[in-house]
């Protein structure tokens, strides 16, 4: 390890060069050959310093000798201080300053050269600073133009301001405080450096840098802040070079824009705004002097916390300005100056919308072409509605917790924090007049890790002791409430002064308020709220809590939509001329592999209904309302196009046109939601339905400005018309989705049916639970599920359907939308364009019959022909004679029994245990006794000679399903259903 003297002389070598020969500065010396040269340079440096300090006539050596002559020194007493042997300094002075021969050199110049060479290796490119624009803080406004968030890189919260916009006196204030000889020196102020060296020898406190503004820039932007001699050497050399590359004005501009001034502000412009609520160009000299004084220690001289210190510092800077002649004598030195009036500190702190703001940055890049929104100071007009955003986050967080509690999956790991020590400190530091108990003050000052979780922090004040005891917690408003802890692990682990999250149940009537423990859920979810007409994303929660996971599951994740994709098939069917009352079979069905070539048995696809049941005939409406898989798949068979493959192609095209997917993988499970989708795209599709075909482009940015100029604006024309489907079909679909709430899988919120349409979705094995619903104004998409871990999916558990766990989250969100976005209105009637093609009349809900029977009647809108006649397609897919006429308890209209005994819930049929251990109806194996529909491999139905003779056939000539025995090991049973 090099001795400190080697380091000092290597530093002196750098200093000698930058002060005496900056243009011929060498960064490399040869250890063997250059020692004489180095000695000469040091000598020149010493001469320069003596001249700089005007001490050429002073016998420094004599002074050193006197200091060395310590009358109190005793034998053996060390003369070293800070690692420096003073005798060596004296020798070095003689050697390098006086050019005198010395018997034993104080320092080995070879070592000095080695150290210097090492320090100057790979010097940063000083030219980088030329024209450098530092990152800026952008402001994100909400949809009303109110400030919502700031976006900036760590330690780069600034707004760049040109030097010309900074008042000259303010510039001088900074120079007075930091670098008085700025305009005289060439990057290094040798006087300041020597002063700092002496000061650092003497001071045991924080080392001084003695750095010029140029050095500070080099340190902050290029060489780093290590407190090492190597860094000092690099800093000096690069600073010297910077002075040759940048003008003084450029250096000062860079400095004033880069320096940290407290209140989370980098650079003078943001500091001016933060402290004084004005722009830098409006600063008075006193205000500028206050900011200039903060450069030395923004926290120590913080005018908010230490006004007296700030005053003294201000006085210091003002006195320096007076000394410099910038201020008249009567403007300084008259006691403590009054601090300039500060505006209250608005901490750039928020507790909502973190995923949203991330999305703003991404969209600025993807749509606005702005590589980094933090590269400059932009003003982003976003689409967020803060009130709705808060409601969305609260609903999602509570909904996820509710799911885990109901599923018995709560896993309490630890408290959010323990404030035991903080409470002790608060007790010791009680301020007069503050009546709050110590725990309350400690809780108020606590910074909890989950800053965007909207439950109430509560501190454990009492643990139950014995029977009948209760947990009691304190909350920030000072109340002490009973806490219900319904988790055994929590009961065991929680300790005094632990902070937990709780939901407060306020007192009702005579009942007292109480707190309910809330535990961080493992399950995840997302909620996005879209404005139908514009595509503005009004609110978006990308997960339970941003600090736990920054993944935005609304825009960055794809998940299987399950039944939530079904409206796509029904839309295509309606456009194909089917009506909501068209009857469709809900019988088992097997589809052969797509394309030509030999098919293997495992390539056939046999979907199942969610409940495992099947059979019967039902209207399109009821099939969608109740989310029947088999009925949906049956639509492929002539409901959309003439063949399943053609139907699949049509659905693919429609999905692409509606921009649900960027590409469509042709496989049948697609129609039941096997193909993962982004929640935001699914939301946009539902908004398309609400808009009768106009697909809005979801976006979070309306416009971006820089320096008052719009640099990006969302193009309202980016909405696209899904032109392959007409308004009438969309409207019909909308009314069917309204029925999902009225009496379908979302009937738990049937009260909202007049105002909302929507669809639940549950993917295979309940890995995903969805509900997407829309009102006239907004679409809300809710997804719940576990993140895939190591490629494995985790089920939400039996019964965890969209209807059960996503719908309860949707409900408060849509209520909040009505409160904060647009009032609740009944779903709009058909548009004029749709109305032209529709005629609405009351029909029987279950049968779809236009003659009302004793059943439930609903008003259904039918597509009409050019003559205004309703196109009757009720029996287009199912023959009238095959309809049994009575609907069962589930509301399914049954198909007539046949010799093979099929029908829904065929208890006597063949069932098997699938791979998940569930008892399910069997799929059809062409190689086994027939029992269900079978499509020929080449698009020709019923061509398989083995079944040609098998009666009976359906109206389309297809074989009916026949009950069959099922081999428990039957492999098709493992195929997924959606």
């Amino acid at each position: 390890m090099e001795s400190i003297l080697v380091k000092i002389f290597a530093t002196a070598l750098a200093l000698s060069q930058v002060t005496t020969a900056p243009n011929a500065l060498k960064t490399r010396f040869d250890r063997a050959q250059d020692q004489q040269l180095v000695a000469q340079l040091l000598h020149a440096g010493c001469a320069h310093m003596r001249k700089a300090f005007d001490i050429e006539d002073i016998n420094v050596e004599d002074l050193i000798s006197t200091a060395m002559d310590d009358p109190q020194a005793v034998t053996g007493e060390s003369k070293a201080f800070h690692g420096i042997n003073f005798a060596d300094l004296q020798t070095a002075y003689r050697q390098f300053c006086k050019n005198e021969p010395v018997a034993v050199p104080a320092v080995d110049l070879g070592d000095v050269i080695d150290f210097y060479n090492k320090a100057t290796a790979d010097l940063p490119d000083h030219a980088k600073l030329k024209g450098m624009k530092l990152p800026g803080a952008s402001v994100v406004l909400d949809r009303r133009g109110e400030r919502f968030a700031e976006v900036f890189e760590e330690n780069q919260r600034r707004v760049w301001v040109p030097l010309a916009d900074i008042p000259e006196q303010v510039q001088k204030a900074f120079l007075a405080a930091e670098d008085r000889r700025f305009y005289q020196h060439k990057g290094i102020d040798e006087r300041g450096l020597i002063r700092a060296f002496i000061g650092n020898l003497a001071s045991s406190g924080r080392p001084q840098g003695g750095s010029t503004i140029t050095q500070q820039i080099v340190k902050n932007l290029l060489v780093g802040e290590d407190l090492t001699y190597e860094r000092k050497i690099r800093e000096m050399i690069v600073a010297s070079r910077v002075e040759h590359t940048l003008s003084k004005a450029e250096i000062l501009e860079l400095y004033l824009n880069s320096v940290y001034l407290g209140r989370g502000s980098w650079g003078i412009e943001l500091a001016a705004r933060s402290y004084f609520g004005k722009s830098a160009k409006e600063l008075t000299v006193e205000e500028g002097a206050l900011l200039a004084g903060l450069t030395k220690g923004p926290n120590y001289f913080n005018p908010d916390r230490h006004p007296a210190r700030a005053q003294e510092r201000l006085a210091y800077v003002l006195s320096r300005l007076q000394e410099d002649g910038v201020l008249a004598a009567d403007q300084a030195g008259r006691g403590l100056p009054t601090l300039p009036k500060l505006v209250p500190y608005e901490r750039p702190r928020r507790d909502i919308g973190f995923h949203f703001v991330d999305q703003v940055a991404r969209e600025a890049k993807s749509l606005g072409g702005i590589d980094a929104i933090t590269s400059h100071s932009y003003t982003v007009r976003s689409t967020i509605n803060p009130q709705l955003q808060r409601a969305v986050e609260e609903a999602l967080q509570e909904g996820l917790s509710r799911y885990e509690r109901s599923a018995g999956r709560v896993q309490f790991r630890s408290a959010e924090a323990n404030l035991g020590q903080a409470v002790q400190r608060a007790e010791a530091e009680k301020k007069p007049g503050d009546r709050r108990p110590a725990w309350q003050r400690a809780l108020a000052n606590a910074r909890l890790p989950l800053y965007d979780v909207h439950w109430t922090p509560a501190i454990v004040l009492e643990k139950p002791s014995g029977k009948g005891g209760a947990w009691r917690v304190g909350v920030t408003d000072g109340r002490v409430l009973p806490l219900s802890v319904d988790n055994a692990v929590a009961q065991r682990k929680l300790a005094l002064y632990d902070v937990v999250l709780a939901r407060l149940a306020e007192s009702k009537g005579k009942g007292a308020a109480r707190a309910e423990l809330r535990v961080r859920p493992l399950v995840q979810g997302t909620v996005v709220v879209l404005e139908n007409k514009t595509g503005r994303i009004l609110a978006m929660a990308g997960g339970f809590s941003y600090p736990l996971s920054q993944l935005n599951r609304a825009t960055q994740a794809v998940r299987q939509p399950g039944s939530a994709i079904k409206p796509l098939s029904y839309l295509a069917a309606l456009q194909n001329g089917l009506q909501p009352n068209t009857l469709v079979s809900d019988d088992p069905i097997t589809l052969p592999p797509l394309g030509s070539g030999r098919a293997r048995e495992r390539d056939y696809w046999t979907p199942k209904n969610y409940d495992g049941g099947y059979g019967g005939v039902l209207t399109l409406r009821r099939a969608l309302e109740n989310s029947r898989n088999l009925a949906t798949v049956h639509l492929l068979d002539g409901g959309i196009e003439s063949s399943p493959e053609a139907s699949l192609d049509r659905l693919c095209k429609l999905a692409l046109e509606a921009q649900i997917y960027r590409e469509c993988l042709r496989y049948y499970p697609f129609v039941l939601g096997a193909e993962p989708v982004r929640p935001i795209d699914l939301a946009a599709f539902y908004a398309t339905i609400a808009n009768e075909g106009v697909r809005p482009a979801p976006h979070v940015i309306d416009s971006i400005e820089r320096n008052g100029t719009i640099v990006y604006r969302h193009d309202p024309k980016s909405s696209v018309n899904v032109s392959s489907v007409d308004h009438a079909a969309f409207y019909q679909l909308k009314t069917m989705l309204q029925g999902v709430l009225a009496r379908g899988t979302a009937r738990s919120i049937s009260g909202l049916a007049p105002y909302v349409a929507g669809k639940t979705g549950t993917s295979d094995d309940e890995n995903d639970a969805w509900f997407i619903g829309f009102s006239n104004d907004v679409t809300v998409a809710v997804w719940i599920g576990y993140d895939n871990a190591a490629g494995k999916r985790r089920t939400l558990g039996g019964g965890a359907t969209g209807g059960h766990i996503a719908v309860p989250i949707f409900e408060p969100v849509i209520q909040a939308a009505w409160a904060n976005v647009a009032p609740k209105t009944g779903l709009a009637p058909p548009s004029p364009e749709a109305k032209r093609h529709l005629a609405c009349k009351s029909i029987d809900l279950e049968s779809g019959e236009m003659q009302l029977s004793s059943g439930r009647a609903i008003t259904e809108c039918f597509r009409i022909d050019r003559n205004g006649h309703i196109l009757d397609t009720q029996y287009q897919l199912v023959a009238r004679g095959d309809v049994y006429g009575e609907h069962d308890s589930r509301g399914y209209y049954s198909v007539a029994p046949n010799p093979y005994g099929y029908g829904h819930e065929q208890r006597g049929g063949y069932y098997y245990y699938d791979g998940n251990g569930r008892y399910v109806p069997a799929p059809r194996d062409p190689s086994r006794p027939q029992g269900q529909y079978y499509y020929g491999q080449y698009g020709t139905y019923g061509r398989d000679p083995r079944y040609q003779a098998q009666p009976p056939r359906d109206p389309y000539g297809r074989e009916y399903q026949t009950p069959q025995r099922i081999d428990p090991g039957y492999i098709w049973g493992n195929r997924p259903s959606y």
């Binding site: 300090f53 002073i58 420094v60 002074l63 200091a67 020898l201 003497a202 210091y316 006195s319 403590l336």
Partner: protein, 349 residues
């Protein structure tokens, strides 16, 4: 070298203070006998041509950081000394105003006292000494040739205009006035040895226009107090000797340009209790040093080399920068030399 330039300069400045002076010893025949207690000053123990000198009568009052007594402690423990060795009996540590880093501040100027007490016997009866004749410039000049003096009128005093001396103004009269036998002196002492160089380099290093002077400038009143006045004042109580006073010479330094706030030299002449042919002279030297000066960089007192630059060390005469026989030699040397010079002059006259 020490500290920031400002500190550094200040240190050297103080070092210079201490180093100055060569209280040139003309009275070669007198010698100093060091004493460690006031009891040693008992007249019975006095030896011919010997000055018994004590400036550390006990460690219990000494501030160990600087080797001097805090003014407050001194005033409490030695009320008589406080009464008679300060510029006037009601003197308190002053509240001063100073601009520190641009801020005009009022603060109590804390002081540390150097108090030396010496006693010797002159082989002359009290009535043979014309004390009033010593109130003269030549007498002062002979005490310490290193210090240059000139007579001034009270109106010429700097102190009247310098706020630094405002609190030293006598509450009942102007200095140098209203006393029958009084002269007013302006004095200047140029630091000696290497102290001026140190101060010069410190001034080169430091920022700002204000420089540290490499000299001490002071103003004082030298007056004669007759026996009646001494009796009236009770001044003789200070000596602990209850023989009749013959008179006293008193020099009040009411203005010093740096380092100190005031100084007093008091020589009390009393009859010898047993020998009418002798006169007992008790000399007090009190110097009030600004505590802020002493506080500078106390931590270096224990660091070899650097401790040489610490003001307290220089004032204590423990620095290699001490030189000469006057103030630059440190206060203990300076005080002893002062007394020796006075004794010698008195002996010869």
């Amino acid at each position: 070298m020490i500290g920031t330039p400002k500190r550094y300069a200040f240190l050297l400045g103080l070092a210079a203070l201490a180093a100055a002076s060569s209280a040139r010893v003309e009275a070669q025949e007198f010698r100093i006998e060091e004493a460690t207690s006031l009891a040693a000053l008992a007249v019975e123990g006095l030896k011919p041509k010997t000055i018994t000198f004590v400036d550390r009568p006990g460690d219990e009052l000494i501030d160990p950081d600087v080797g001097l007594i805090r003014f407050e402690d001194w005033a409490q423990a030695k009320p008589l000394e406080k009464q008679f060795l300060t510029p006037f009996p009601s003197y308190l540590e002053p509240t001063v105003e100073a601009t520190v880093d641009g801020v005009r501040k009022r603060f109590k100027e804390r002081l540390h006292m150097y108090v030396g007490e010496a006693r010797f016997a002159l082989a002359r009866p009290p009535d043979s000494i014309d004390l009033a004749s010593f109130v003269s410039l030549p007498f002062v000049e002979r005490i310490d040739p290193a210090v240059k003096h000139n007579l001034i009128t009270p109106a010429e005093a700097i102190s009247a205009k310098d706020p630094r001396a405002a609190h030293n103004q006598h509450p009942l009269r102007r200095w140098c006035e209203a006393r029958p036998v009084t002269i007013c002196i302006h004095s200047r002492y140029q630091f000696e040895g290497k102290l001026p160089i140190g101060i010069k380099i410190a001034n080169k290093l430091r920022e700002g226009a204000k420089k540290i002077p490499d000299y001490l400038e002071f103003e004082s009143e030298l007056t004669f107090r007759p026996a009646a006045e001494i009796a009236e004042m009770g001044l003789a109580n200070l000596t602990g000797l209850d023989t009749p006073p013959a008179g006293a010479l008193e020099q009040n330094i009411f203005y010093i340009n740096q380092v100190m706030q005031f100084g007093k030299l008091l020589a009390l002449f009393q009859a010898h209790p047993t020998d009418a042919k002798q006169t007992v002279v008790t000399v007090f030297i009190a110097l009030a040093i600004e505590s802020g000066v002493l506080a500078k960089k106390k931590e270096f007192v224990k660091v070899p080399v650097l401790r040489n630059l610490v003001p307290a060390q220089v004032l204590a005469g423990k620095s290699s920068f001490n030189s000469g026989n006057s103030i630059s030699a440190g206060l203990p040397v300076y005080a002893r030399n002062q007394v020796k010079a006075i004794a010698s002059i008195l002996e010869r006259k």
